[in-house]
Amino acid sequence: MNAPRPPTEQEKFGRHRPLTDRDAHEINRVEELSYDLKIHEIIAAEVVAIAPDAPLSDALDLLRLHRISGLPVVDEENLVGIISVEDILRALQNGEIHLPVKNYMSADPVSVRASDSIVEAIKIFTETGLGRLPVLNENKRLIGIITKGDITRGILRAVQHDYQEEEVRRYRASHLFEDIVSDRTTLVLRYAIQAGDFTHGGNASANIKRALLRLGANPQLARRCGIAAYEAEMNLIIHTAKGGVLKLEVESNEIVISAADDGPGIEDIQKVLQPGYSTASDQIRAMGFGAGMGLVNIQRTVDAMELKSAPGKGSKLIMRIAMSADDKKGAL
């Protein structure tokens, strides 16, 4: 006795299997393209057609010659039908291959308009199971045929185009410094950091790291800058009265990250530079901050660090990271 067969995906979930978020992301772009792309953009420029009074044997010759599986039937520029390999097979079975095309064609075929989005064609393909659809222009004249293969190719071409555009954007970013000529070119990124905003803590640093990677910095350099920026960002969130500004300056041979605030300032700079020294509250320590390691980490990560502060006024932390030739594969 046969063990019961496990249900296939289609049986279990219907025609559409459940989408994961990642699928949804991929499909959204393809779906978007199926609305963006118009039928006339993806169909072949030439169309092979046959007259209704031509013998079926001529239709067969045309299908063979062009290696296609169906032909539109056109009478004085008007679409009157479609003849497919299956129709011709029926004629052959009946020994009627000498009869005119009109005897075996499907009359009044479903058609689409050239200006429609390809999603219209996809819908008809799905609903009817047809393999090809005639495409008409605004004057109802036949201008081509669309097949499922045309749709696949059209979408692949558009996706490829997207990909190339992204490559170009990345190339432009990574050659920024070569393309812009000046005596001294500096790229400055500024981030306003709110005091106590733990929810967004680390966002600015993540953006800094991403920007550096996009500019073509090597991953090790981007990681070092990300870590230094994170510690400085968290200091602004934890220890300032009103937050401050985190700034990244990219120059041709070094990166300068600075964090500036207007209070409350640091009483004893020597003390805050000691590993483990912390003024953080118990609540902040419970979140895993306030280890007294932030500035120590920064010092270890960057090439030079400078901390200036006036109690009651504010602090400024400046971090410098030198760039070797190896660090700057792209713009940097």
Binding site: T20, D21, R22, F198, T199, G201, G202, N203, S205, A206, K209, R223, G226, I227, Y230, E231, M234, M287, G288, F289, A291, G292, M293, G294, V296, N297, R300
Partner: protein
């Protein structure tokens, strides 16, 4: 040993989106609840064991490029934390065990 083996062996629950964990090979481990220590101490590609579950662990994990965060003692991150982790490609794993037990188990299965 890949991350799928670790998840199976330690019976970890996956909080973030499913993906091909067998393609990820953690390089080792690091345990701390102090974020600055993690910044300084963890290696890229390691497993980070912590009982912190708030938003900032995602930023730390993304910046240090750890393979995954193992959140111990059933500390439950808020849904916003999980969403942020998915956005930043950070894997969150969860266990009722303590950090001590997880470190021991990782050591047992060969992460030294």
């Amino acid at each position: 040993m890949n991350l799928q083996h670790v998840i199976d062996a330690l019976q970890l629950s996956v909080l973030t989106e499913a993906r091909d964990f067998s393609a990820i090979s953690p390089s080792g481990g690091y345990a701390s609840d102090l974020l600055s220590c993690v910044m300084a101490g963890t290696k890229k590609g390691a497993l980070w064991i912590t009982l912190q579950a708030h938003m900032n662990i995602v930023a730390v994990a993304a910046l240090t490029e750890v393979a995954a965060i193992v959140i111990t003692e059933n500390a439950q991150p808020e849904s916003a934390v999980i969403a942020k982790a998915d956005e930043q490609n950070v894997i969150l794993l969860s266990t009722p065990k303590t950090s001590y037990e997880i470190c021991g188990a990782l050591w047992e299965i060969g992460f030294r």
